[in-house]
């Protein structure tokens, strides 16, 4: 009886975790393996535009042809390394901006009277109800030379001729900071909101003025939120494609755009796949740092 109950329990657990794992296998692992396979294949002018990795030779022998040339090619042309470094730079700088804007917002919401907190959070999340694409397009309407911002500044008389913001890195920063701000605010809010405010009273009691108490108590205690928010913004920002493509100019070099160009302009699927795999591997490192800090925080 006991054994059968145990078996039942295990079966139940298995059934519960099956859908999410199944989902990940079908929609993440499998596509990734396909991309990995393509990245190891050779280019050919046909449909599909790459040679098969597995093929049947005579006598029923399965042939495996791995081409690592696509990966070594990534290092032969500066473009890829530059695009990667530039993506890191843009992502890092916009993450910093997001943190600088998001921290005061999260702080204000967390310290607001409790009846205002949920409406304020609602306002932070509200933009998600509109598609990202539409929101980025509306930024084009705001930032372009004859757009809202320039017209407004010219009407005020601050400037005589439009400032070129569209199709510059500036526009990309604006777009990324705007789009990812909620991902920064929400984890920051979560850590700031649960903080015990008597700690600040204790700090004041021991002779610490308010701003110093913020630096010595609030900031260190909100580090888990800072780290979570930073990674939630930084990781997707590195691979961001829509924003640099729509708001950035021809000089905006980001890895997402390079993958797009390789796939659709050059029809070089193997190299595009190699870039995609490389960026994934390079991003696994910050994700692992994130997970390690998370589990450390939990252990405490």
């Amino acid at each position: 009886m006991i054994v059968s109950r145990r078996v039942k329990q295990r079966l139940g657990r298995f059934l519960v975790v099956l859908p999410p794992y199944g989902w990940l296998v079908v929609f993440f692992l499998l596509p990734f393996l396909i991309v990995l396979k393509i990245s190891l294949s050779e280019l050919q002018a046909a449909i599909p535009p790459y040679k098969a990795v597995f093929s049947w030779a005579e006598d029923g022998i399965l042939q495996l042809r791995l081409n690592f040339g696509n990966y070594s090619y990534l290092f032969s042309d500066d473009l890829y390394v530059l695009a990667y470094l530039n993506s890191l730079k843009i992502a890092a700088f916009s993450t910093l901006l997001t943190l600088l804007i998001g921290y005061p917002m999260a702080y204000t919401i967390a310290r607001a009277p409790s009846r205002y907190r949920n409406p304020l959070l609602m306002l932070v999340v509200l933009p998600f109800w509109t598609s990202l694409l539409i929101r980025v397009y509306s930024w084009m309407g705001i930032l372009k030379n004859e757009g809202l911002l320039n017209s407004f500044l010219m009407w005020l008389g601050i400037i005589d001729s439009p400032i070129q913001i569209m199709e510059t890195n500036m526009a990309v920063y604006i777009g990324i900071v705007y789009s990812y701000l909620p991902y920064m605010i929400l984890p920051l809010y979560a850590t700031l909101e649960k903080m015990d405010l008597t700690l600040l009273e204790a700090a004041a009691d021991l002779g610490c003025a308010p701003f110093k108490a913020f630096l010595k108590i609030t900031l260190p205690l909100s580090m888990p939120g800072v780290i979570a928010g930073t990674l939630l913004v930084f990781i997707p920002a590195v691979g961001e494609f829509v924003i640099p493509d729509l708001l950035g100019g021809p000089d905006t070099l980001m890895i997402g755009k390079v993958i797009w160009a390789e796939f659709f302009d050059n029809r070089d699927w193997p190299v595009a796949s190699a870039v995609a795999v490389a960026i994934l591997i390079l991003l696994v490192v910050p994700i692992m740092i994130y997970q390690r800090t998370e589990s450390k925080v939990e252990a405490e």
């Binding site: 700690l199 204790a202 004041a204 009691d205 021991l206 002779g207 205690l221 405490e300």
Partner: protein, 364 residues
């Protein structure tokens, strides 16, 4: 008593919206005193303490510490430290760092900080735990660290908000005496807030009992227990039999009081004159009465009744006696004999008596 008090609270009132938490409180506390503010929750004792700490500003009145008006001085500039009920230890700092925090704010040289921290750790016997984080300590250990942290700056006054509230009973009793010893040694004025009358009585030199934002009585534990100034205080501190009646006559300090509830007249001692016919309450503590099967010959106040309940507490028993009038009286008696020889049982007819001098006449 020639020195001015260390702390002077002058007609202090604190309102939160329509609610008056502290109402026109006057209070002087002397250097080196261990003072306890005692009261039920919501009586304003914590608000008064928080005003001393600087976390609330009085709506009216002023607070002087060492002759200086601090009513609007922020907490970080007051010569006062507080031990919080939740301890409020900084979770990201070790025990050492927590204790050093206040000293660093004063820009004390590093060597001196290390010395002071070491002395504080010694005092609360936490030296082996110096490197631990608060989360790795037990409740009692955290309480010690909180005490060390709040004493490290050697404040003029230490405020303690329910300092033992989070400890279990055994540990609490042990810590009570320790806290009194430490206060003796450091000579710092302690002001403690508590709802536990036993704790206040054990630890404090003087007790202030608060009710609805006002101070009902201030005195030594002995004063407030033996001679409460009102029914409220008599009831709040310890157990009491409250007997209502009207003054019918008197001889010297002994007054005759007719009690309809008892169905008889009793004698109580009161030094000041009482107008004939005035309504008073006579308070008699349960342990001031004696109980037995036979009436004591020559006793002035004697009642007889039947035991309805016995609460056996080990060291003593509390007897609930129902009188013929229906009124119940509580009498407690030490259980002096091993094995309880001749002890009183349920439903026994007994006689209660007490001396007039062992009762208190309350006018309010």
């Amino acid at each position: 008593m020639t020195n001015p008090p260390l702390i002077r609270i002058e007609r202090v009132t604190k309102r939160f919206g329509d609610f008056t938490a502290v109402n026109q409180v006057d209070l002087d506390i002397r250097q080196g005193e261990f003072f306890a503010l005692l009261g039920a929750s919501g009586c304003g004792k914590t608000t008064l303490l928080r005003m001393l700490g600087g976390f609330e500003t009085p709506s009216e009145g002023r607070i002087l510490i060492d002759g200086i008006d601090v009513s609007s001085v922020p907490p970080y500039e007051r010569p006062v430290n507080m031990m919080f009920q939740s301890y409020a230890l900084f979770p990201h700092m070790s025990v050492e760092q927590n204790i050093a925090f206040g000293l660093q704010q004063d820009k004390m040289p590093k060597g001196q900080i290390a010395e002071r921290v070491k002395a504080m750790l010694d005092m609360v016997q936490m030296t082996p735990y110096a490197k631990r984080k608060p989360a790795q300590l037990s409740g009692g250990q955290r309480q010690r660290v909180a005490l060390a942290r709040s004493l490290a700056k050697q404040p003029k006054v230490l405020l303690l908000d329910e300092p033992l509230g989070a400890l279990d009973k055994k540990l609490r009793e042990q810590t009570q005496l320790e806290l009194v010893n430490i206060q003796d040694r450091v000579g710092i004025t302690f002001i403690m807030v508590t709802h536990d009358q036993e704790e206040a009585m054990t630890m404090a030199c003087r007790v202030g009992i608060m009710k609805e934002g006002k101070i009902a009585q201030i005195g030594t534990p002995f004063d407030v227990y033996e001679t409460p100034n009102s029914r409220f205080v008599g009831d709040f501190i310890g157990n009491a039999n409250m007997i209502e009646g009207s003054v019918s006559g008197g001889e010297g300090a002994d007054w005759q009081i007719d009690s309809p509830a008892l169905g008889c007249s009793i004698t109580a001692r009161h030094e000041a004159p009482l107008p004939i016919g005035s309504e008073v309450t006579v308070m008699v503590r349960p342990e001031k009465m004696s109980i037995g099967r036979q009436a004591v010959a020559g006793a002035i106040n004697t009642l007889s009744g039947r035991i309805t309940d016995i609460a056996y507490l080990g060291d003593m028993s509390i007897y609930h006696v129902k009188l013929a009038s229906g009124r119940k009286i509580q009498v407690s008696q030490a259980n002096l004999r091993q094995g309880g020889g001749g002890r009183l049982e349920h439903d026994e007819e007994v006689s209660i008596c007490w001396h007039p001098g062992d009762s208190v006449v309350l006018l309010a």
